[in-house]
């Protein structure tokens, strides 16, 4: 959590990968990637999405410049808010299990080997060309499987994606999202040089 203090109130906003869901991550990315917004507008939208009442960011001091102000005034400045929000690191460890509502979704077999097959990669690449906002939750829906359903049914993938969006912590999702991004980039580089 980060604390955002005004003269009169204090608000707590979730900010760590463990607190933010995959859906929160997608929305944060949506605002950050919106090039029609200024940097200030981006963070204003993100904070409002995360529950900060409208108008609070507008009233913030951008940054305290004098030492006296820094010591005396307790309100959170805009720059302080952004810095604290972005200060959390993500673990690069891959968690292979996610449980929700009695259902266990896993990305590995019982012997620890990844369940990913080439067919999954095809679907992931297809998802990367679809709705960019929800691509991450679709990736995770392809990677994490439920043994009791047809994991390749488009309806099941969509259903899992919605569940993960609302409930999967982004701390579980982020290492996979980064891995996929690196893989897609490398494959495109490889293809450009191969006959």
């Amino acid at each position: 959590m980060i604390e955002i203090r005004t003269k009169d109130e204090t608000f707590e906003i979730k900010s760590t990968p463990e607190e933010l869901t995959l859906g929160d991550f997608e929305q944060i990315q949506r605002h950050l990637n919106n090039n029609s917004l200024t940097a200030i507008e981006k963070y204003e939208n993100i904070m409002q999405y995360l529950g900060l009442p409208k108008g609070i960011v507008e009233q913030m001091v951008f940054e305290f410049t004098s030492e006296a102000d820094k010591d005396k005034r307790k309100e959170t400045t805009f720059m302080q808010m952004v810095k604290e929000f972005n200060s959390h690191t993500t673990s690069s460890e891959f968690q292979s299990t996610f449980e929700h509502d009695g259902v266990v979704y896993t990305s590995t077999n019982s012997n620890g080997d990844t369940k990913l097959i080439t067919k999954d990669l095809k679907l992931i690449e297809k998802a990367s060309k679809g709705n960019p906002i929800h691509a991450p939750s679709t990736y995770l829906a392809i990677i994490f499987k439920d043994e009791n359903i047809d994991n390749y049914s488009p309806l099941m993938i969509e259903k899992k994606a919605k569940i993960f969006r609302k409930n999967m912590p982004s701390s579980i999702a982020l290492p996979y999202i980064m891995l996929i991004g690196q893989r897609i980039l490398k494959q495109l580089e490889d293809i450009n040089g191969v006959g």
Partner: protein
């Protein structure tokens, strides 16, 4: 997998995959299917990646065993080669271009070429293209671009011989000129040696024989 086992037909099929809008994994699955006959969709990612890595040999085409005797290429073949090149990327018509340099039933020769080793035909194709491009450059007086800034108004008026190989008619206007518009003479001219025909025409243009007094 190795170059010796890849026919021209396989190679053209691989080449055309680039334009099918496939994702990287789809592209590699198709390549593996063409070259091994096996579908890798249900294999583990590690196994798939290892197999794709084996395709790196495709990056370099080895030397071929076929040498094309470009000095003997007839004028009709010269025109056909240019026509096939104008239809798209040369590799997609490599079998037809190569067959154009041979005597015999062109359709059968082209089909035979598809079954030959890709490396051999690719190198032959390269030799043929280089030969033709050198000719166009050597006989610039015939093929100068009418949009060339160096040409004066007077040059353009006299440029009845200017042929643009890249136009939709390719070299056919050249044949038309050589046959003096008589289509019954076309066969005779196409059977003549390319160098002889172009030398003759270049001389006519240079000395303005035929269109004006010397």
């Amino acid at each position: 997998m190795e170059w010796d086992n890849i026919t021209l037909e396989d190679y053209i099929e691989l080449f055309n995959l680039r334009f099918d809008g496939l994702s990287p994994t789809e592209y590699n699955l198709e390549r593996l299917l063409i070259l091994t006959g096996e579908d890798y969709e249900n294999k583990s990612v590690d196994e798939f990646d290892a197999k794709v890595k084996e395709l790196d040999f495709l990056k370099i085409v080895p030397a071929g065993d076929i040498k094309v005797n470009t000095k003997k290429i007839k004028f009709g073949s010269f025109i056909d080669i240019a026509t096939y090149r104008n239809q798209g990327l040369p590799i997609t018509n490599a079998h037809k271009i190569y067959a154009s340099t041979l005597e015999g039933d062109r359709t059968q020769l082209a089909n035979d070429a598809l079954e030959m080793k890709a490396a051999d035909i690719i190198h032959a194709l390269n030799d043929i293209i280089v030969w033709q491009d050198d000719i166009v450059e050597k006989y610039g007086v015939i093929f100068d671009d009418p949009d060339d800034e160096d040409l004066t108004e007077e040059d353009l008026e006299e440029a009845e011989e200017i042929i643009n190989p890249a136009s939709k008619w390719g070299f056919l206007p050249l044949l038309h000129k050589l046959a003096k518009g008589d289509v019954t003479k076309a066969d005779e001219i196409t059977e003549m040696n390319t160098g002889l025909v172009l030398n003759w025409l270049a001389m006519e243009i240079d000395l303005k024989i035929g269109s004006k007094e010397i």
